[in-house]
């Protein structure tokens, strides 16, 4: 069983839940930007949650099937077709040998996840099939898929058609989107007015938004607390002596445009980070289109942990629904 890529879409890549454990060596955890959607797609077709599927951003690919398979498409809302006939998202359906899976124009969200029964069976690197193009790890030769590629798929029985994830267990950002953020180590570097302004202002997703990070523009320029820059830090007040970055951390080079680091981000550098978007809301970033309005909402650690627990419960409910 294999998938033949007729049209690749835009930077469509093989992703699973990622390769945690190497960030201290500079290798990001990678994996699906919207992990809930990736897990759900796998559950719908009877795969283990950590099986590899496809992540397509803004545009769907066109894929011909060499054998029968169960398929589910989750994440963004985008019309799905099999040989031109419509299919439901977040719902399992069968694609027969020789049929072509296609997509219409994106309606809502940013990334779709395509799971195929058996999972994509390319060789794992460091325990994951996730594609990390900058490090040439995972996927097909470490790159996004291209027209003419043949993706091997593991063998697995088909599941029944029409298995569906309940609407309340699907997650999509609102408009404006709200991202909860926790102030961090370098919060003291900006003035109280700037701290307030960051949460008061409405930001807009910039064109520079990808798997490494999402840039936001349109808010006020941050004002820094004056200091003599320490030895080893750059001259700009947004510089620090190099430090570690976490998944979700918010750096603001020059104090102008915040960047939230995502799955394929660098692990450290010389910009201060004012805090981090909480882990429970990182999936939502993966579904933001450029020019979407965003508000950051301040939370404390208790609220961040409660949100994480709530998200875990949501995944558990999905498991129960689709067991």
């Amino acid at each position: 069983m294999a998938l033949k890529i007729v049209k690749p879409g835009l930077a469509t890549s093989i992703q699973d839940l990622g390769r945690p454990g190497y960030f201290h060596l500079g290798i990001p955890q990678g994996g699906a930007m919207d992990r809930l959607a990736m897990r759900a797609a796998n559950m719908l077709v009877g795969n283990p949650e950590e099986a590899a599927g496809l992540e397509a951003v803004f545009m769907g690919p066109e894929i011909a099937f060499t054998a029968d398979a169960s398929v589910a498409v989750t994440g963004a809302e985008m019309p799905v077709t099999v040989d031109g006939e419509p299919r439901e998202t977040w719902t399992s359906f069968t694609v027969r040998k020789g049929q072509v899976l296609g997509f219409g124009f994106l309606q809502k969200g940013a990334r779709i996840y395509i799971a195929v029964s058996g999972g994509i069976d390319t060789p794992p690197d460091l325990g994951s099939r996730s594609t990390y193009p900058i490090g040439a790890l995972g996927g097909i030769e470490g790159r996004p898929i291209e027209a003419g590629d043949t993706l091997p798929v593991g063998s697995a029985p088909l599941v029944e058609e029409g298995r569906s994830a309940p609407a309340q267990l699907r997650r999509m950002p609102g408009n404006p989107a709200e991202l909860r953020a926790l102030p961090g180590l370098y919060w003291h570097r900006i003035t109280e007015a700037a701290q307030q302004g960051f949460f008061d202002d409405t930001w807009t997703v910039a064109a520079e938004a990808d798997r490494m990070g999402y840039r936001f523009k349109g808010g006020r320029v941050l004002e820094f607390v004056e200091r003599e820059q320490p030895f080893g830090a750059g001259a700009d007040p947004s510089n620090i002596v190099d430090g570690c970055y976490s998944y979700g951390s918010i750096q603001v080079p020059g104090g102008t445009e915040p960047i939230v680091l995502h799955r394929d981000a660098v692990s450290g550098g010389g910009y201060f980070t004012l805090g981090a978007v909480i882990s429970a809301d990182m999936d939502l970033i993966g579904q933001l289109q450029p020019n979407t309005e965003v508000k950051f909402r301040r939370v404390d650690m208790a609220e961040a942990l409660a949100a994480r627990a709530e998200r875990r419960q949501m995944i558990e409910k999905l498991r129960q629904e689709l067991a």
């Binding site: 835009l10 951003v57 803004f58 940013a110 064109a207 938004a209 990808d210 450029p290 020019n291």
Partner: protein
Amino acid sequence: MAEIQSPLPGTFYHQASPGEPPFKAKGDAVAVGDTIGLIEVMKTFIEIKAEAAGTFADYKIEDAAPVSAGQVLAELDG
């Protein structure tokens, strides 16, 4: 009247780089595969190509304006 739709969200540009003339002007002949504009997204510029032939009528979106997927970018006559 044929419409050229944006395949993806981003920022639409009428010309290859600032200061250059637009790819097409009213009355220009358009062949299948001709580039009529660019969409910038994720640090990438994607060429928008005509999928039908005709005569260029007009851009329906301002230069450097944000667009969503499926939005009509330009119209062709005939």
